[in-house]
């Protein structure tokens, strides 16, 4: 479809490669486990869960990934440091995939950044996320940790338009000393994954698609998002779900295609239960995107769905 003039960087997170020009690498897909409301979680504070079902979910994602060639990551969500530690212990035993550490509580994230460094898993962890509220303490914890991969969240709550988000990434807001990309570099991040931040439909959900293009053009960094959060917070669609859950699921999964078509390199696709559906959809997009870029002398990776499924 198109090619960026600027060289595109490729992140390598424990062997999983993310980035490049459209058509080059398969889109990396991260399914969320232990998310808010996940019915396998028995105690969200302690991190207790049904281990058998969790194992099946992780294996299902892996099987889908092996089939299409789209690399997978495990997006681990937890509310407390204790819960995240339990989840990471389990996930790292079952799979060798990289995993994202996600919590809205910075104290929980920081506790786990120290923990994964202690147990030697820093190279498989992706910190989610370095965002506009990062303080000195969190910066120091990250700098001292072994984690070298992070999502950098472009959501600017003071100015959520295109310019505001780009400014947050480049030079920061009025209360910051520098932009988030420089902060991430200072924190020792070699693998910076930009997430423009998804806002609900009606609140600028599409801005992230423009940022994807602009951020790749400007910095050449891998960009992606949890774009399914836009349809999943759409009231009209939630109403439809009451009558036909398939309608909701289709929109939720199909949103990934928008991110891919806008040159996205990774998609946080939401509930890991959707793995058997999202991987074929993403593979289909990857194949068509590659075929649109053939004339730019783009070579698809050997694991690309074009080489695996055609």
């Amino acid at each position: 479809m198109f090619r960026f003039q600027k060289d595109q960087k490729i992140a390598n997170i424990a062997g999983v490669k993310i980035g490049g020009n459209p058509g080059e690498l398969p889109t990396a897909l991260a399914g969320t486990i232990f998310y808010e409301g996940h019915d396998i979680v028995e105690d969200a504070n302690e991190g207790l869960f049904d281990r058998k079902i969790a194992e099946n979910l992780l294996n299902s994602q892996r099987a889908s990934s092996d089939e299409t060639g789209n690399p997978c990551l495990v997006h681990i969500f937890g509310n407390t440091g204790q819960a995240l530690r339990n989840y990471i212990d389990f996930v790292s035993e079952i799979t060798d995939s990289p995993f994202l550490i996600d919590s809205p509580d910075p104290l929980a994230r920081m506790a786990v950044a120290e923990y994964v460094s202690e147990i030697g898993l820093g190279d498989r962890a992706v910190y989610n996320s370095i965002n506009m509220t990062i303080g000195e303490k969190e910066r120091k914890v990250l700098k001292d940790s072994d984690i070298d991969s992070s999502i950098v969240l472009g959501f600017n709550a003071m100015d959520s338009g295109f310019k505001g988000r780009m400014q947050l990434l480049e030079s920061g807001t009025s209360s910051m000393d520098k932009g988030l990309i420089d902060i991430a570099l200072e924190c020792g991040m070699c693998n910076i994954l930009i997430d423009p931040g998804i806002t609900p439909m009606g609140n600028g959900s599409g801005v992230s698609l423009r940022i994807t293009l602009a951020a790749k053009a400007k910095w050449g960094l891998p960009v992606g998002s949890g774009i399914h959060n836009a349809p999943s917070s759409w009231e009209w669609l939630r109403d439809k779900k009451k009558h036909d859950p398939l309608v909701f699921k289709m929109c939720d999964i199909a949103s990934a295609v928008m991110q891919q078509a806008a040159a996205g390199n990774f998609v946080l696709y939401g509930p890991i239960e959707n793995a058997p559906y999202i991987f074929p959809v993403a593979a289909m997009s990857d194949i068509m995107i590659y075929e649109s870029a053939e004339e730019f002398e783009i070579e698809p990776a050997s694991s690309h769905p074009f080489n695996r499924l055609i």
């Binding site: 479809m1 003039q5 600027k6």
Partner: protein, 194 residues
């Protein structure tokens, strides 16, 4: 004098309107509970930024609302309940940061400080965060729904900001589409080169 804006609720979300003349709005935070129609508006608020904004917008656009009941389970990490309480008690600074909020990204982007001040003046916050007993919640609504006169001011109306397109001052060919067609990534313009 009209006490309620036209087309109220003025913003949509995971909530339903009950009786617009009622004095009480119910915010069930991260919980979902069946609407009690004696409340003016009833529904969840899970986020400390856009969610909180919507609560404020729907309150200041209806002068009949004099109480906001916070109940239901707190939204983890985002702390929408603690944030609404902080917003009510402390307001926002000039950057839009909600003072005293412990939520993840607690900012108000789309409302003026005066609108927040109006919210703080118009209502009394009843903080029962954690309360999920539906009978007790209904009882509180029953006690408050017709207990106060409307706030003496006009309801605040909100208009969607119209963004004017500004042609870019300069363009560059960041993205190649074909030999003669390129795209400027920042402006989003696709154009043909000679």
């Amino acid at each position: 004098m009209d006490t309620v804006s036209e087309k109220w609720p003025v913003t949509k979300g995971d909530f339903s309107a009950g009786n617009p003349k009622s004095c009480i709005a119910v915010v069930t935070l991260a919980s979902s509970m069946p609407l009690f129609e004696k409340a003016a508006i009833w529904g969840s608020c899970k986020t400390e930024n856009l969610g909180a904004e919507k609560v404020v917008m729907n309150v200041v656009s209806n002068c009949n609302i004099r109480y906001v009941l916070l109940c239901g389970g707190e939204s983890r990490g985002h702390l929408a309940g603690q944030t609404l309480k902080a917003l009510y008690e402390n307001g926002i600074d000039e950057d839009g940061r909600i003072l005293g909020s412990e939520g993840a990204i607690p900012f108000i982007e789309n409302l003026e400080i005066e609108t927040i001040q109006r919210f703080r003046q118009q209502v009394e916050l009843i903080d029962r965060t954690g309360l999920t007993d539906i009978d007790e919640i209904y009882s509180i609504v029953d006690n408050y729904h017709d207990s106060e006169k409307p706030f003496e001011a006009s309801p605040i109306s909100f208009r969607k900001a119209v963004r004017k397109y500004k042609p870019p001052e300069s363009i560059s060919a960041d993205i190649l589409i074909s030999e003669k067609v390129v795209m400027d990534a920042f402006s989003g313009l696709i154009y043909e080169i000679a």
